[in-house]
Amino acid sequence: MSDGVGVGPVGVEMAAGMEASAGGAVVGLSQDETTKRTLGIGFWISITWITVIVLAAALAPWLPLKDPDSNFIAAGERPPYSPNGTHWFGTDQDARDLFSRTIWGARISLTVGFVAIACGMVFGGLLGMIAGYFRGWWDRVISFVFVVFLSFPALVLAILITALLERSLRTISITLGILSIAPVGRVARATTISFADREFVLAARTLGASHRRIMIKELLPNVLIPMGALALLGMAVAVVAEGGLAFLGLSVEKGSTWGKMILTGAGSRDLQKAPWIAFAPIIVLFLTVLSLNFAGDRLRSYFDVRETAL
């Protein structure tokens, strides 16, 4: 889902040695001074952008936008028109307003991303927690299923499903949702394992709590934190995957999506004559994916710090 490879235990022999001799007091500093617990300005900029895009997409029908499907052909000039006062992002070859198409496109692209990762969170989270909590055969079977899904290119499975079924918003979302089960599930499993042996879980077990109760009351809240960070990263992946499908001609059939818009402008002639057709949606898509990635990444390291402090 990202380059989420665990960075090995930080061998700070030298650093620790230096630190210890450099100032014994450094070692014993109070927590709030050594570990800076802030999300940083970048995180808030990212969140702001995501909020703006989500709000614009949600409110698109009520915003004073031009009709995304109308052709605004100006007399005496052939489209596409470059960005100007009336068409902020310019228009495409059919003289459709790119600004409003980008915002309407966000509706579909973000819905796909959101439904997909929600699917992954619910089913992947559940399977991962079962595997991590019960271990044994449950774990072996579920982990194997995860490996199967992870071991061949996700996009192949996606095109397999989307090519054979009708290409509705629902099919695409669910397809990408199925694909996000395995990656999310693996993280859920790993996190569950790391918590399943902690004192508070053992304590609950010795007090006779049922498995269901332990999983919901004790494990779920702890698993949710890293999963929340993962959700943002996963949503970015799903939004990108939709674009990939669009490039293969397999995205949602009706309406505009970012992927389809980029494809519209990606031909060599269009790139040469009217690069804005491709670059307007590319920039918006890029900023959105970057924000999701960045916010997710910050959140992840932010909570990792807390985990080690536990």
């Binding site: 061998g11 022999e13 040695g17 230096m18 210890a20 001799s21 450099a22 100032g23 014994g24 007091a25 450094v26 070692v27 014993g28 500093l29 001074e33």
Partner: protein
């Protein structure tokens, strides 16, 4: 540039080493002045955080980029304090070398032992492959490693801890340095191996007319293996004396406390080791007056206000920094008081 045995090899003058950190300037070494003659060995003793490790690395110039050095370091008559790593590289391994605390971490785990010993030989002495290998075998024999030829093709993880430390020493000795730093060389080793390693270093020192700086937290380690002892606290030298004189007549209450933390053979097993209460001083905002005063059972009002200067004791070459040293009337009065209250163990810290 070669220094005769017995002549001054290393001279520190008011050496300071500070680290820039987010909290402020950490004064890890704060004005150390001393001299070391060729062939002599010096023990640098102190708790962790006293600046002893930084001192040794500062002399060598092996510091992270956040470090700032002031003062003077003269090695074989040459000022090396302001030298760049590029210039120092010709001294490292050739004229001065270092043995570290943990022999597993300080050997490259993915490189054969032979290659690690040969590396400095090729680098500084320009030896060819065969010559370097032959020298490496001889070095391994010098440090008493059995089956030396076979070891060349082994990896560090295939050897025991003591063997690895011997290999480290062989690497350090490879180019015949005149100054060897040994930074807690035995701390990570079994007790039985510790003495062997220390004896080995000492024996090589005598054979090669080499100077050794032995850094340790353990006064017991330096007792039988050094000519001079420098006691460090809070980045400063607080007591300095020839080994015998120091043990016979230690002046600093801090040195005495260090002594008390050595386990003694005569103690019943499982008896608790005395540790020094409190924490080492904050080196960003050091306490006013004597650094040790906040933890010193004998501290009086003056200690908290005025910093004691290094003062000469009655024996030659013995200096200490304390207002009320062991043996002074104020100290004795306080000691008697404390013993009445039963706070301090009534031993006089005599070690034979």
């Amino acid at each position: 540039m070669r220094v005769e045995a017995g002549a001054v090899l290393l001279e520190l003058d008011d050496l300071k080493t500070h680290f820039k950190t987010e909290r402020g300037l950490v004064r890890a070494v704060d004005g150390v002045t001393l001299k070391l003659r060729r062939g002599e060995s010096l023990g640098v003793v102190g708790e962790s955080g006293s600046g002893k490790t930084v001192l040794s690395r500062s002399i060598m110039g092996l510091l992270p980029s956040t470090a700032v050095r002031h003062g003077s370091v003269r090695f074989a008559g040459q000022e090396i304090q302001g030298m760049s790593s590029k210039q120092m590289r010709h001294l490292w391994g050739a004229e001065m070398s270092m043995v570290f605390q943990n022999p597993l971490n300080s050997l490259n785990p993915l490189m054969k032992i032979g290659k690690q010993i040969v590396e400095p030989l090729k680098l500084h002495l320009g030896m060819d492959k065969d010559n370097a290998r032959a020298t490496a075998v001889q070095l391994l024999r010098d440090v008493r490693i059995p089956e030396a030829e076979r070891r060349l093709n082994q990896y560090p993880h295939e050897l025991s801890g003591g063997m690895r430390q011997r290999v480290m020493i062989a690497i350090a000795l490879a180019c015949g340095p005149t100054l060897l730093f040994a930074d807690e060389p035995t701390t990570a080793l079994d007790v039985t191996v510790q003495a062997q390693i220390l004896d080995l270093i000492n024996e090589q020192r005598r054979d090669r007319d080499m100077s050794v700086i032995l850094v340790t937290h353990d006064l017991g380690v330096v007792a039988g293996h050094t000519d001079q002892i420098a006691v460090m606290y809070g980045g400063k030298l607080v007591e300095y004396a020839p080994t015998k004189i120091l043990f016979a007549d230690m002046k600093m209450p801090y040195t005495k406390s260090l002594m008390r933390s050595i386990p003694k053979m005569a103690d019943p097993s499982h008896s608790r080791l005395a540790t020094i209460p409190g924490r080492p001083p904050d080196l960003v905002n050091p306490p006013k007056g004597c650094n040790f005063a906040p933890r010193c059972a004998y501290a009086q009002d003056r200690c908290h206000v005025e910093e004691p200067p290094l003062t000469e004791a009655k024996d030659a070459g013995h200096v200490f920094a304390c207002w009320y040293p062991v043996g002074s009337p104020e100290f004795e009065r306080k000691d008697a008081e404390l013993q009445e209250q039963g706070i301090m163990p009534a031993d006089s810290a005599a070690v034979s």
